[in-house]
């Protein structure tokens, strides 16, 4: 009987690898997710009923386990079903944090088990007892604890920043404080492992607190638009924390699943950075250097811009032959994807050819805009990827930019001194005219002026994306 569980774990490990592989290709992605979920289910059930420890004891407390599975399952399903498509990034962050917390709790319980054995054995004094504990075991417990706690605290902060509950806090010497906290965590852990002091529990729980503090300090100063990269990084952290559990219980499926996600997550983080033409280092510590760079003010501020009224914009678009919509972060935040689709249908009914130009990093996460527009029933063949869109702009009469800024900034092509120089952009200035919807003239995430807004062919339509689109729809209907 006990030979069945390793087989189950083997199958589950293969489904994780297959699932991840299939998730990276559009045609098989959904099936890949289901296959991995199936593997996870048999691994969980197999563990509950077939697991035996080294002395051949089976697991008990089934009532507690199923209770926990039921509560977690119901809450998780409801939360995942209810969440708005625009809040996906926050949701992923929360779920990631839960995994991190789970790993940290496992470490705390395992440490407490060691600690309890002192009282049970009774005779030994604590120092001698801790000295006799297996070092590898302690090291793994500490690693799982630290990584899991950092991932948990960081994910919660990332969640708060994405939904706007937490504001940016940057203070001088922040990175020095961060490094000090990290050094403190490492040296306390080293002290536990090497010196094995009698008051080890005190040191251990200090490490718990410091790891949580580090998670908070590490994520808080990073800008909201960079959060997807941070979530992806924390995602791979949690993978490593899960793998620590695999070491602890000599459990192959935890080890393979955890390491797999740790490696894939790290690569995904780097790929995301590349899509934004930034380095990981720049994302993580960039926020510290930003303030002085802004102060030195090397940017050329651009002169005058012209505003356009809703009725004029409606007129221009209705009488155009071809309109290209460039959706961006602003559209995602305003949750304007449905009304955007309404506008598209309305224009099409008036004989206008409407297309969408999707920048790879448009939205709140790379690929997020495709999900949002798909949710609003925008037809797949209307979405043009960046290269295809750039070939077409020349034939477009009106480009409607909705809350996008840096991804249409011509400085990325023309100005080598610009911080975004080299980033691939949508070349909207090739079109005959451009209407830019923004809430104000404030610069975008990169904090630089956009020359596009000051070009003669560009006109500005100020206001919240959803509100502006609704007004446009009403206006066009009455034409």
């Amino acid at each position: 009987m006990q030979n069945i569980l390793p087989l189950i774990y083997l199958i589950a490990s293969v489904t994780f690898i297959l699932g991840l592989k299939m998730l990276s290709s559009p045609a098989t992605a959904r099936r890949g997710n289901l296959i991995a979920a199936g593997g996870m289910s048999i691994a969980i059930l197999g563990t509950i009923f077939l697991y035996t420890d080294e002395n051949g004891n089976t697991l008990h407390n089934h009532l507690w386990i199923f209770g926990g599975l039921l509560i977690g399952g119901v809450v998780g399903t409801l939360a995942a079903k209810k969440v708005k498509m625009t809040s996906m990034p926050e949701m992923v962050s929360i779920f990631n944090g839960m995994g991190g917390a789970c790993a940290a709790l496992i470490s705390i319980i395992e440490f407490n088990e060691i600690h309890r054995n002192i009282h049970i054995s009774g005779t030994m004094d604590p120092a001698a007892f801790f000295a006799s504990t297996d070092g590898t075991h302690l090291l793994i417990i500490l690693l799982g604890l630290i990584i899991g706690s950092v991932s948990f605290a960081g994910s919660i902060i990332a969640w708060g920043k994405l939904n706007g509950r937490l504001k940016d806090i940057v203070f001088k010497g922040q990175h020095v404080v961060n490094i000090l906290v990290l050094i403190l965590i490492v040296s306390l852990s080293a002290h536990i492992l090497i010196a094995r002091p009698a008051d080890t529990p005190l040191y251990f729980y200090s490490v718990v607190v410091l790891s949580l503090v580090y998670g908070i300090l590490f994520v808080w100063p990073i800008g909201g638009a960079d959060m997807p990269v941070v979530i992806s990084l924390l995602n791979s952290f949690t993978g490593v924390a899960a793998a620590c559990g695999g070491f602890l219980y000599d459990n192959k499926v935890m080890l393979t699943g955890g390491i797999l996600v740790g490696a894939a997550g790290t690569l995904l983080t780097i790929l995301m950075c590349k899509a934004m033409n930034r380095s990981l280092q720049n994302v993580l510590i960039g926020s510290f250097g930003k303030k002085p760079a802004e102060g030195s003010g090397t940017q050329v501020a651009g002169g005058s811009y012209k505003e356009i009224s809703v009725s004029d914009a409606a007129m221009v678009m209705t009488y155009a032959n071809k309109v290209m919509i460039v959706p961006g972060y602003g559209l995602a935040v305003a949750q304007a994807q449905h009304v955007c689709h309404d506008l598209e249908k309305l224009l099409e009914s008036k004989g206008v050819d409407v297309r969408y130009a999707i920048h790879p990093v448009a939205g709140r996460m790379p690929g997020h805009m495709n999900v949002l527009l798909a949710e609003a029933d925008v037809s797949y063949d209307k979405l043009l990827e960046m290269e295809a869109a750039n070939d077409e702009f020349r034939t477009v009469d009106v480009v409607l930019v909705l809350g996008a800024n840096d991804v249409v900034n011509p400085a990325a092509k023309s100005d080598p001194s610009s911080p975004i120089y080299g980033m691939p952009i949508l070349e909207v200035e090739e079109a005959k005219s451009v209407i830019v919807n923004k809430r104000s003239m404030k610069p975008g995430y990169a904090g630089i002026e956009n020359q596009l807004f000051f070009q003669p062919k560009t006109s500005m339509l100020f206001g919240d994306a959803k509100k502006a689109l609704q007004d446009l729809v009403t206006e066009i209907k009455s034409l």
């Binding site: 690898i17 699932g19 991840l20 592989k21 998730l23 990276s24 992605a29 959904r30 890949g32 997710n33 996870m40 969980i44 563990t47 697991y51 420890d53 407390n61 386990i65 926990g68 509560i71 809450v75 998780g76 939360a79 995942a80 498509m85 992923v92 929360i94 779920f95 995994g99 917390a101 789970c102 790993a103 709790l105 496992i106 319980i109 395992e110 407490n112 088990e113 995602n235 791979s236 993978g239 899960a242 070491f247 499926v253 080890l255 699943g257 797999l260 996600v261 490696a263 894939a264 690569l267 995904l268 995301m272 899509a275 996460m365 790379p366 690929g367 999900v371 798909a374 949710e375 797949y380």
Partner: protein, 102 residues
């Protein structure tokens, strides 16, 4: 030095697995189009929910009177399940959107 070598030889199976898995993880997603970055991250997020297995083991081993382990283990099982179930359901919802359009 000798201790280190001994450590490697006793844990060599694990070490091999870690190294191979790192390469598999990188290889498997290396050609992902940016359109799928978000769903892939979400799917990977669900897979590291495998940590739930550790929580189940901890919970199932907890002794009758050990309130500390029982309570924390119970919380760990709930959190781990949230990670797994929520992760897979959210990913499926995202991918469902893509598929409908075919």
């Amino acid at each position: 030095m000798l201790q280190g070598l001994e450590w490697i030889s006793t844990h060599q199976q694990m070490i091999y697995m870690v190294i191979l898995m790192i390469f598999v993880g990188i290889e498997v997603i290396s050609r992902v189009p940016s359109v799928l970055h978000t769903p892939l991250m979400s799917g990977a997020n669900a897979i590291h929910g495998v940590v739930i297995i550790g929580a189940i083991i901890v919970m199932g081993k907890a002794q009758e009177g050990n309130i500390f382990a029982l309570v924390l283990g119970f919380v760990a099982v709930i959190l781990g399940t949230l990670n797994v179930v929520g992760g897979f359901v959210v990913t499926d919802r995202m991918l469902e959107m893509f598929k409908k359009k075919k």
